[in-house]
């Protein structure tokens, strides 16, 4: 197994600030906009962006939810390992709001397909956008593309992209792992 650094801590910070600015450009004061982190790994990115937006760009407080997609996945009973659920925390109705899905890596697009179904349980958003830190292009199984992307990566199927976060893994970094 070998691993290659795709993004260093410094690069991650620069990208997060760029993504935050792109969000402000489109959503201004976030009065009608809700951030939704996709469980489990999208939550770290969503929290980080909220923190940067509120503390460094002085936006008003932004609503943030966590969405677990386990029960909406299309591979139930089709994978060898059992699916493990995480907590969903959405304390608001998304009816007529602009929702931004936030996830760390966009790969096949199937998680986002599930998230699109799952969010309907909380109302009918006026608009849904997708923000990802890493976009693994050429590996999509479904016609889903991000609206905001940190970095595009060309990785072949048996390679894995791992995003580490300081609060969970001790450092900010993105690795390309080859088995």
């Amino acid at each position: 197994m070998s691993q290659k650094v795709l993004l260093t801590a410094k690069e991650v910070t620069i990208i997060l600030h760029r993504l935050a600015c792109q969000l402000i450009e489109k959503h201004l004061d976030f009065s009608d906009t809700i951030l939704v982190g996709i469980q489990p790994r999208g939550v770290f990115l969503a929290e980080r962006l909220k923190e940067i937006l509120e503390n460094e760009y002085q936006t008003p407080e932004i609503q943030l939810g966590y969405l677990d997609i386990t029960f909406f996945r299309d591979d139930f009973r089709r994978t060898d390992k059992p699916l493990e659920a995480n907590k969903t925390k959405i304390n608001f109705i998304v009816e007529n709001k602009k929702v931004i899905f936030i996830d760390d890596v966009l790969f096949t697009g199937r998680s986002i397909r599930s998230a699109l179904t799952a969010i309907q349980s909380f109302g009918r958003p006026s608009e849904i956008e997708l923000l990802v830190l890493i976009d693994r292009r050429f590996s999509r199984n479904l016609p889903i593309q991000p609206d905001y992307r940190g970095r595009q990566v060309d990785a072949i199927n048996n390679e894995k992209v791992k995003v580490s976060w300081k609060e969970n893994d001790g450092e900010d970094a993105v690795y390309l792992i080859t088995n």
């Binding site: 677990d68 386990t70 029960f71 909406f72 996945r73 139930f76 009973r77 390992k81 059992p82 699916l83 493990e84 659920a85 995480n86 907590k87 969903t88 109705i93 179904t117 799952a118 309907q120 349980s121 909380f122 109302g123």
Partner: protein, 308 residues
């Protein structure tokens, strides 16, 4: 990654502590789901489940059906009263006929102890025991423990007394297994005629005096007097039973602490507990019913994920 150690839920005695923990964790997620504006997930859309009830049931049957529908499973239900069982068909034949309609899971209630176990050995489907005679009623015990965990934080170390008709109760046996597995202490309390002989061998103690039992416990699970199973008189009169083993507000208030009152339903109001007690803030009877749906969703989801 975690999964259940069994392919069927036949009784608490066939599962272990890890299974219970996994069911509770999964139920937490489903409890959140059933409180959403849209209370449904598509997980089990390719699973078909048959609910076969050879004995009457309202709560359990509705609860199972609702759990299955919330998971998007296809459900067929039948009650023995309207079925070919009356024409003399055997259990295995009945179930195999249903299975040939491509059913993946069977939820069954039957008057004979061991019916679910017997079925699991003889037919190819995942079996969930919804009560077999006076043997086990595992989902009830799970939802009881889950409700205790919700109300008191944890089950371990808690003192639980099971009051009333222990002799005819499958809820009692499943509860004893489940509570002990999680480290709770269990006493049973009731008229001597309704306490099975040698029940001490299960590791529980018998307390014939209700007041003493209530003073000892954190939780009192009040069982229903199962008149329909009593072929002889086990106590002189319902009135005398209510006086000796019924809980009323005066008794509850005279205790030196606040205990939690549970009841598996249906309640004989004025016999096991009075209306005042059933509707008081110490009673978690309706929480039990809500938790029942979440627990059954968890059990069905976890078993379904093991169907090949």
């Amino acid at each position: 990654m975690k999964e259940l150690s069994v392919n069927h839920l036949l009784g608490i005695k066939y599962i272990n502590k890890n299974d219970i923990d996994l069911i509770f964790e999964t139920a937490d997620h489903f409890k959140e789901v059933i409180n959403r504006p849209i209370k449904k997930v598509p997980s089990l859309r390719d699973i078909t489940i048959a609910n076969i009830f050879f004995e009457n049931s309202t709560r359990t049957k509705l609860s199972f059906e609702l759990a299955q529908k919330r998971l998007s499973a296809d459900v067929i239900s039948f009650s023995a009263a309207q079925s070919s069982v009356k024409k003399g068909e055997t259990l295995i034949d009945t179930v195999n006929n249903i299975l040939s309609m491509k059913v993946d899971m069977v939820v069954m209630r039957h008057a004979n102890p061991g019916a679910a176990y017997f079925l699991s050995k003889n037919v190819k489907a995942s079996i969930v025991n919804a009560g077999d005679g006076a043997h086990e009623h595992p989902t009830q015990a799970l939802l009881d423990s889950y409700s205790i965990r919700e109300k008191l934080g944890e089950v371990a170390g808690k003192k639980v007394v099971i009051v009333g008709d222990v002799l005819h109760s499958r809820v009692a046996l499943s509860n004893i297994y489940a509570l002990q597995m999680q480290g709770a202490e269990v006493k049973v309390c009731g008229p001597k005629t309704l306490i099975p002989r040698h029940i001490e061998s299960l590791g529980v103690t018998v307390e014939p005096n209700l007041r003493k039992a209530l003073e000892w416990c954190d939780v009192a699970n009040m069982l229903r007097v199962q008149n329909e199973r009593m072929d002889v008189n086990y106590f002189p009169s319902t009135r005398e039973y209510a006086q000796q083993y019924g809980v009323d507000k005066t008794l509850l208030d005279s205790l030196n602490k606040e205990i939690v009152i549970m009841h598996p339903g249906p309640i004989n109001r004025g016999v096991e507990i009075t209306s005042e007690v059933a509707d008081s803030h110490q009673s978690v009877i309706l929480n039990q019913v809500e938790n029942g749906v979440a627990i059954r969703m968890a059990v069905i989801y976890l078993l379904a994920s093991k169907i090949q």
